[in-house]
């Protein structure tokens, strides 16, 4: 026993030392090259010779987006001479960014949700207005995002990398089987389509618990609009609002048996049922199509806006974006901006579209999935937020999520009961 142990420990030690060795080698490289950056001035020849950029990415290495960005960085260096070091921080990047920006950590470009960039990090972001104007950014980007950013931040502080739209995503084949000729635009038409689907033996709607919040949020916004909804979310008074009707309609919807078996399910079990042909529709953002295709095999996806209700107040669709920003203290703002442009437009912008199944960040590119979404985004003026009105009450957001989920789980008898339960929270 002891011998085995000693041997194991010895092996472990060797590995440990090897790891140490690798460690020091890796750590020294960026340090030395970092000094080179300040030492050498841009030489003749390439535009940004000697410039070094550091980018904090929200992807993990090996993800499709990461591969494209890496490729873009290599090509950018070959073309302009600027070296781009990319650090893969993963989707939890938001837990790192605030502290890093506050302490003035050395990096030039970072990726995150555009709303967070425009609100949480705004003090540490570079004003891109002049550079964007010089590049003609407004001509090929989406006004709805740029306007939002300016409204939140006061100036343009991010460039869209990955636009997203939300609504109802459906399996075209299922609609054909059920004999649904055109996509529903009103709640009545939607229910009608659901009935046809059910008759054809396909469950109408798939729903994962994680997206129940977002799904019912649509319905509330249709009835109340986001401003009125936020008012209610902050101060209560659900029972005296249109939320009663909205909730009742969902209860009727659930009672009609229009949810797929198991819904609201644990993400992503339910959404995958669309891919397996068991359900026809799912309410989400466009990335659901890629997720489902990868998980269970590709289907032909269609998309329509969440239906309007009677007396509809606000029929806008969700739109959001992961965007790129430049730190306010960067020394190479123009080079950073040029790299952002380089990777989101042209060859590499197209690769992001084709390889990662996303909507083009540059409206001039060719869509590969969900054709028509660029048009939708171009025409959109004031997009719906991702549950922004209910999240505004950060104390109760958690309870709202549970209540909305419970609505689809059949926990409430009536719209009144649901609203009474919400009002009881205040």
């Amino acid at each position: 026993m002891k011998k085995i142990l000693a041997m194991l420990l010895a092996v472990v030690m060797v590995f440990g030392l090897a790891a140490c060795g690798g460690d020091t080698a890796e750590e020294t490289t960026p340090a030395t090259t970092g000094q080179a950056q300040t030492a050498t001035e841009p030489a003749e020849g390439k535009k940004y010779e000697g410039v070094e950029l550091t980018m904090w990415s929200m992807w993990g290495s090996g993800e499709p987006q990461a591969l494209v960005i890496e490729e873009a960085a290599a090509a950018f260096e070959a073309e302009t001479g600027a070296k781009v070091n990319i650090e893969w921080k993963g989707r939890d990047i938001n837990t790192l960014l605030s502290a890093a920006l506050e302490s003035g950590e050395k990096f030039d470009i970072f990726e995150d949700d555009y709303q967070r960039i425009a609100t949480t990090y705004v003090d540490y972001t570079y004003d891109l207005t002049a550079m964007a104007e010089a590049a003609g950014y407004a001509d090929y980007s989406y006004a709805c995002f740029n306007d939002q950013v300016v409204e939140w931040a006061g100036f343009l502080n991010s460039i869209v990398e990955q636009p997203q739209i939300g609504g109802v995503f459906y399996d075209k084949a299922a609609f054909e089987t059920a004999g649904i000729a055109s996509v529903p635009t009103t709640w009545a038409e939607f229910l009608d389509a659901c009935a046809k689907l059910k008759e054809a033996g396909i469950a109408p709607l798939a729903l994962d618990g994680a997206y129940a919040y977002f799904t019912f949020y649509h319905h509330l916004v249709r009835y109340m609009g986001e401003d009125a909804l936020q008012e209610v979310a902050m101060n209560g008074g659900w029972s005296d609002s249109a939320a009663v009707t909205a909730a009742q309609e969902i209860i009727d919807f659930v009672n009609a048996g229009y949810l797929v078996e198991g819904a609201p399910d644990e993400y992503p079990a339910s959404q995958n049922k669309v891919g397996l042909g068991q359900a026809a529709m799912v309410v989400c953002a466009n990335y659901v199509t890629t997720e489902v295709d990868n998980a269970v095999g590709a289907i032909d996806w269609g998309f329509f806006n969440y239906p309007e209700v009677e007396g509809c107040v606000d029929s806008s669709a969700y739109a959001g974006a992961n965007s790129l920003a430049i730190t306010s203290y960067t020394e190479n703002a123009q080079a950073a901006f040029d790299f952002i442009q380089y990777m989101t437009t042209g060859t590499y912008g197209q690769k992001l579209v084709d390889n990662c199944g996303q909507i083009p960040a540059d409206a001039r590119l060719t869509e590969s999935v969900l054709v028509g979404s660029v048009e939708t985004l171009k025409n959109s003026t004031a997009p719906m937020s991702w549950c922004g009105a209910t999240n505004a009450n950060s104390d109760l957001a958690q309870s709202f999520k549970d209540a909305f989920n419970g609505l689809y789980a059949g926990k409430y008898e009536s719209g009144e009961a649901f609203c009474a339960a919400l009002d009881a929270l205040y």
């Binding site: 506050e102 949480t120 399910d265 789980a409």
Partner: protein, 297 residues
Amino acid sequence: MKKNRTMILAFILPTVFCLLFMYVYPVVRTVIMSFFQVESLTSDTSAWTFNGLANYAKIMGSSGFQLAMKNMMLIWLVGGLITLALSMLMAVILTSGIRGSKFFKAAIYMPNIVSAVALATMWVQYIFNYDYGLLNEIVQLFGGEKVKWLGLDLKFWAMLAAFIFGSVGYYMLIYISGIEGIPRDLYEAATLDGASKVSQFSKITMPLMKGIIKTSITFWSINATTFFLWTKMFSPVNTEGSTIVPVVYLYDIVFGGKGIIERDAGAGAAVGVVLTLIIIAVYAIMNLTLKDSDLEY
């Protein structure tokens, strides 16, 4: 033996430094921070503004924190009762002279050495899955209806069950070592006197293991208050009310969770202090009620 001052100093100083740097300083600073308005964890102390008990008032009034505390209490009480009872049962079985007890002991303890992320993934993605999960297969085998284990109503209990499954081995080992410390002849004498296994357990095992049970309750309390990873694994997209616990609440308000834009490190510190007070309270109550019996045997 002579005292050697230089040597004592040289040998003890690193540990003292570690205690001061890693424990005393941070705890003191966290306590102080909990009385100040501090937005960002990294902001300079000059940017702190004193606001008395406002942080405590804030978290106490927040429904997220209330939910978290409720869940934590359920984990502590229900989870604790089940875990400690199961562990005791396993310990008694494995010391009753069954064959292969070494193997069973090792097998039951195993979840403790596996990365909890791997363990939780197995539970979430397999055992509790609605369509192909093990539990629903078993339920269907007996002709039952499939159950939504991860639905709104059951998710918390599903998470707790998975956590208990992983924890039992540890407490079982503690109890086994306690039972093995009790002299065999006590049981033999009792058997001769005609005492049943059950009365042997309640008359001999339990009283003699008071100290160990006390320890295990304290450990469980620390486990329950620092519960974090399982919630993260059971609510992957964003924090959910059904599974939220205080540490996750703290993590979200200090480091920013999905959809949370406002951050508040001062309130986070207050959460930490509240949790520590709870641990201290449990510890004190344990010492008052379960006095170490100085039974000689």
